[in-house]
């Protein structure tokens, strides 16, 4: 029936409407593209006709094709034609197409300015509405500038329908034409107290978005919002306001104090999950911004955590997810209160939903302590084993490494355990994160001196079994660990038990299948190993053995010389020549070990990033002064003989020197920095090549604290990390009596001011477990004026920057919005205007003079009001919170009564507020499961009810909506029913419908 209605008399005139097109596409499954191109040809023909109805139909079809991914920008002009149709039925099609395909780059868009202005001032609210809606999608800076004043006028339209839309469009206008913000703001602010809740909510929406980007300009509105928050019952608006407060509180801690109470009240009282979630989020934000001096501070946190626990324990996966998400926000500032719920989080790790498991992993990161680290990692390792997808497994792997390495390995008490965990992780197949493991191995081996011996033994075992790592799945990321293994074995070869065996392992032919950069490391470290073996043999006076090793090198190295990788080839060639030379010397019985080891003498020390800043610039050295004045650009272009050129340059230089002003210097400094950044030979703040794999910053001259190991180091072979759980327990046991002594020792250290590991987050119980090894380099030792991230984080291209303006400053004349100077369609009487109701006309066209005057008046008032408000704000903040039911008699009552009748979201039956609906939906899912089989509801409408629906004036009766069935369909259950939809459907008639429905 509905179809027939659309298929009016005009529609019959042309051959194909949207329905025919849709049907046609469905019937031409095989040659869809061909059919569509045929249709486009037809549409092009239709667009050439003069009949606007035909054109509109064509544009309507184009909109559908555009949705399917066809470019329709060629029809932009025709779309504008349809937009300017006088009939609303056509006009809306034009605007729809425009909103779907126009954008800032569309050049014909400037032709629309006058048409849109005409529509905006049209007597029909729907003309205006459709123009506003369209505009929101394709407004350009030009349109925004030209139409800003018109839209601003519409913000005071008599119809709330228009006001609401105009208010929202203003946000886009502000973005495109930031100059409009200040002139329009007073009116926008007015709309916050609009009698219509819809308009109010729109204004809240806009100010929320604005305030989120530049919160400080909107602080003065806080009292107003506070009033709204305590008086509004509309959950959608409440959510927005609460979100806004979340953005404001970091700037004004006093505001936070004021907010805590109403927010906790809301948390207690609301049944809407979305509102609860928003409240919890904002309370968290408030508490973060507050100093810890709040009396009921921990009470609020406890409340939040409790509520979140309820969410997480819920069977609804969505709530569970959100609960974990919010929990991770609390974790950042109040780890202790979250740690109490470790059981819950660990439980979530077993959840069926991957995204929930990932959220739980995030939480775990902050929950570890020295005590539970081993246990948590053990649990994670078991998950790694059974994880099905590689992405999730990779995520687990990175999380394990993150958890262990956080805060400079703060929680690791036993690095042997950690190395074993890393080695175990190398057995993962097909992970992309081999380089992460490698980086950790290198970092730990370099920085924890005491662990080197153990690390080397593990790494040599790894090299021995390299075939397992490298060959199982070729070219996978895990072979990166061999990079670390080879380097560690080479660099710390003095710790190797069986250097010769490792050397042979590294020279296996199989090695040549590894990626080039790893082979290069192999070659380099083979020499280090070789050097230490030579020394060993010569000390033991075994010249034959030494010669054998050399022979081995000479035999095996050529396989690297043939490598296709340039780096490998070059290194191998050098090394081969060196070894051959050594061989000759050895033949003459010359001791060579000393000299060969001298190649690798000295220890490699890690350096902190930006350590360069620690080096003071010697006095009298001006880094910005030219050593040789460079030729200026113009001169270098001259083609004069060199001698003359030289002379001139010097003369120029003399003249120029006094001119070098501050500005010039700054510019040069910048240029120099640029140059340095691009110069590979300049020692930059980035880590040295040896340290490339090391994440942790450090400084070389930190005194190294050597600690005696409380655990024997001789653990042969590949250990299983589990054994350390037991070991740790034992050690804890043993350490207890030593506790006091260690405390004293620690105090001493404090006195000496030696940098220790960061311990601000340690709990008392954590201190009891002393680490077995120490990390040498600490993060905190950064140069004073250097930060790990020195870059300015503000993006200069941020569109919201332009909106960062002072809104309280009175408006200057020059800032006024451009008002159209020429008479245009607005003032020429169109025939439609005859029947405009008197009131509307009056509102729409206030005489300019009058308007200006009025605005000035308003502005003055506003100014006064704002000045007052500025003072008031401080006063408001310093006083106790207003009683929630602050008597604001007349307006509030008026609003309430309006809300009762008009509210877009009355808290009555029909449109429930968000959370309640969710509750209803959920309970409904449980009770109704199995009943609804299709997207269509099971409700049947009586003809009487149907008639009512068509009448816009009738409100739904409570009875009716109680009949409504809320579904949350299980996709699998219903999948069957609608699959029939996708088969070709010859006509709508064949589409089964209950006879009563249409």
């Amino acid at each position: 029936m509905a179809l027939k209605m659309v298929k009016g008399s005009i529609d019959r005139m042309f051959d194909k409407n949207l329905q025919d097109l849709v049907r046609g596409i469905r019937n031409h499954k095989e040659d869809e593209a061909k059919y569509i191109s045929q249709c486009i040809d037809e549409i092009k023909q239709e667009l050439k006709q003069d009949n606007i109805a035909v054109k509109a139909n064509a544009v309507c079809k184009l909109t559908y094709l555009q949705m399917l991914g066809y470019d329709i920008s060629w029809a932009a002009f025709n779309i504008i034609e349809v937009m300017s149709a006088s009939k609303f039925t056509f006009k809306r099609i034009g605007y729809l197409a425009a909103s779907q395909c126009f954008h800032e780059g569309t050049d014909v868009i400037m032709l629309t300015t006058n048409q849109i202005r005409k529509d905006l001032s049209s007597p029909s609210q729907y003309d205006t509405g459709v123009a506003l809606t369209g505009l929101s999608c394709f407004v350009t800076p030009d349109l925004a500038r030209d139409l800003a004043n018109d839209i601003m006028t519409l913000m005071s339209h008599t119809k709330p329908y228009i006001r609401k839309k105009a208010v929202l469009i203003m946000y886009k206008v502000f973005l495109k034409y930031p100059e409009s913000l200040r002139p329009a703001f007073p009116r926008l602010k007015e709309k916050l107290e609009d009698p219509d809740p819809g308009v109010q909510s729109a204004a809240v929406n806009v100010i929320c978005e604005l305030a989120r980007r530049n919160p400080k300009n909107y602080l003065s509105l806080a009292p107003l919002f506070f009033k709204l928050m305590t008086s509004s019952t509309n959950n959608w608006v409440l959510i927005k306001i609460i979100k806004l407060f979340g953005a404001l509180t970091p700037l004004e801690p006093r505001l936070g104090k004021k907010l805590i109470e109403p927010l906790t009240n809301l948390i207690h009282s609301t049944s809407a999950m979305s509102l609860l979630y928003e409240c919890v989020n904002t309370v968290i934000a408030v508490l973060i911004s507050l100093s810890s001096g709040m009396p009921n501070h921990s009470a609020s946190i406890q409340l939040c955590v409790q509520k979140l626990r309820i969410l997480i324990e819920d069977s609804d996966q969505n709530l569970k997810y959100l609960g974990l998400l919010a929990m991770s926000k609390i974790l950042r500032t109040h780890p202790k209160s979250v740690q109490a719920h470790k059981d819950l989080v660990l439980q979530c790790l077993d959840d069926k939903d991957e995204s929930i498991r990932l959220r739980a992993l995030d939480l775990l990161y902050g929950m570890v302590s020295k005590k539970n680290l081993v246990e948590i990692v053990k649990k994670l390792m078991s998950h790694v084993d059974k994880a099905e997808g590689t992405t999730y497994r990779d995520e687990l792997l990175t999380k394990i490494i993150d958890i262990c390495s956080q805060c400079n390995y703060q929680h690791i008490t036993n690095f042997q355990w950690y190395i074993s965990v890393l080695v175990e992780l190398t057995r993962l197949e097909g992970t992309r994160h081999g380089h992460l493991i490698a980086a950790q191995m290198l970092d730990v081996a370099i920085r924890v001196k005491a662990i080197r011996k153990f690390a080397v033994s593990q790494m040599s075992a790894l090299l021995d079994s390299a075939h397992l790592v490298a060959s199982s799945t070729q070219r996978n990321g895990i072979c990166e660990v061999l990079y670390a293994a080879a380097w560690i074995c080479g660099e710390f070869s003095e710790h190797l038990q069986e250097p010769q065996q490792t050397l042979e392992a590294m020279l296996r032919p199989k090695v040549t299948t590894l990626p080039g950069h790893i082979q290069a490391v192999y070659v380099q470290n083979v020499v280090k190993l070789y050097a230490s073996i030579l020394q060993q043999k010569e000390q033991a006076a075994e010249p034959e053995a030494a010669q054998d090793v050399t022979q081995l090198m000479v035999e095996r190295l050529p396989q690297f010389v043939q490598s296709a990788d340039l780096e490998v080839q070059e290194r191998a060639s050098c090394v081969l020549q060196l070894v051959k030379h050594i061989q000759k010397l050895q033949a003459k019985d010359v001791p060579v070990a000393e000299e060969v080891s001298a190649l690798f003498a000295g220890e490699l020390n890690p350096v902190a990033p930006k350590a360069q800043k620690k080096v003071p610039v010697p006095e009298g050295l001006d880094l910005d002064a030219w050593i040789n004045e460079p030729p200026s650009d113009s001169e270098s272009e001259d083609e004069k003989p060199k001698a003359i050129f030289h002379d001139e340059e010097q003369r120029h230089a003399k003249q120029r020197q006094p001119e070098a002003e501050e500005e010039e210097l700054a510019r040069r400094r910048e240029a120099r920095k640029q140059e340095q950044a691009n110069n590979p030979f300049y020692i930059k703040s980035s880590p040295s090549p040896q340290k490339r794999y090391q994440d942790m910053p450090g400084v070389e001259h930190i005194p190294v604290v050597q600690i005696d190991l409380s655990v024997p180091l001789k653990v042969p072979g590949m250990p299983v990390s589990d054994q350390y759980v037991k070991l740790q327990e034992e050690r804890e046991h043993r350490q207890r009596p030593e506790k006091d002594r260690r405390r004293r020792k620690k105090k001493d250290k404090d006195k000496r001011g030696k940098p220790r590991r960061h311990s601000s987050l340690h709990t008392e119980s954590d201190e009891d477990i002393a680490p077995a090894q120490r990390v040498d380099i600490v993060t905190e030792e950064m140069p004073e004026n250097a930060l790990p991230s020195d870059e300015d984080d503000k993006d200069p291209n941020d569109p919201y920057r332009a909106l960062d303006v002072d809104l309280d400053r009175p408006l200057a004349d020059s800032e006024r919005l451009p008002v159209q100077k020429h008479r245009n369609a607005e003032t020429t009487k169109s025939p439609e205007k005859e029947d405009v109701p008197f009131v509307e006309k009056k509102i729409k066209k206030p005489r300019k003079k009058e308007k200006k005057h009025r605005e000035k008046e308003r502005e003055k008032k506003e100014k006064r009001k704002e000045e007052k408000e500025g003072e008031d704000f401080d006063f408001w903040l310093s006083t106790a919170p207003l009683p929630a039911a602050a008597p604001a008699p007349a307006p509030v009552r008026a609003r309430e009564s309006l809300e009762r009748t008009l509210s877009p979201l009355p808290l009555r039956e029909g449109a429930r507020s968000p959370g309640e609906r969710s509750e209803a939906t959920r309970t409904r899912t449980e009770t109704m499961s199995g009943t609804p089989r299709r997207l269509r509801s099971i409700r049947r409408r009586s003809p009487r009810r149907r008639r009512r629906r068509r009448d816009p004036r009738t409100r739904r009766s409570p009875r009716r909506s109680s009949l409504q069935v809320k579904r949350r369909q299980s996709p699998w259950r219903t999948a069957r029913s609608l699959t029939s939809l996708s088969r070709p459907c010859p006509a709508t008639a064949s589409w089964p419908r209950t006879p009563t429905s249409r």
Partner: protein, 144 residues
Amino acid sequence: MIQFFLMVNKQGQTRLSKYYEHVEINKRTLLETEVIRSGLSRSNEQCSFIEFKDFKLIYRQYATLFIVVGVNDTENEMTIYEFIHNFVEVLDEYFSRVSELDIMFNLDKVHIILDEMVLNGCIVETNRARILAPLLILDKMSES
């Protein structure tokens, strides 16, 4: 803020798309394919929120139709989740037991409904009667 609103069926065919920030037409198709792929790969035991590039996706499935809303990170997921249901209820009321075909045949009207509910990426109206008012007037106009 809502970034885009999509209705996609299980075969990956777009049934409705609305972008509140301009996206190139060829990028749209790409985005839609990726979005539906990430939606289809999930079972109904999984939650309805997906982290996708720099926005969050909130989806609900009704029979073979997925409704996917992309929002930026400041939006409250739960609100959008309920908004989707609200939208379907409105469709259901207007088309009286809406089906995929209704949406295809009356794309322009579905757009009107959506435009009444969401403007500029903000939810503006949730009252069913008010959302449908302009549409019913339009129907009357074309009838007469």
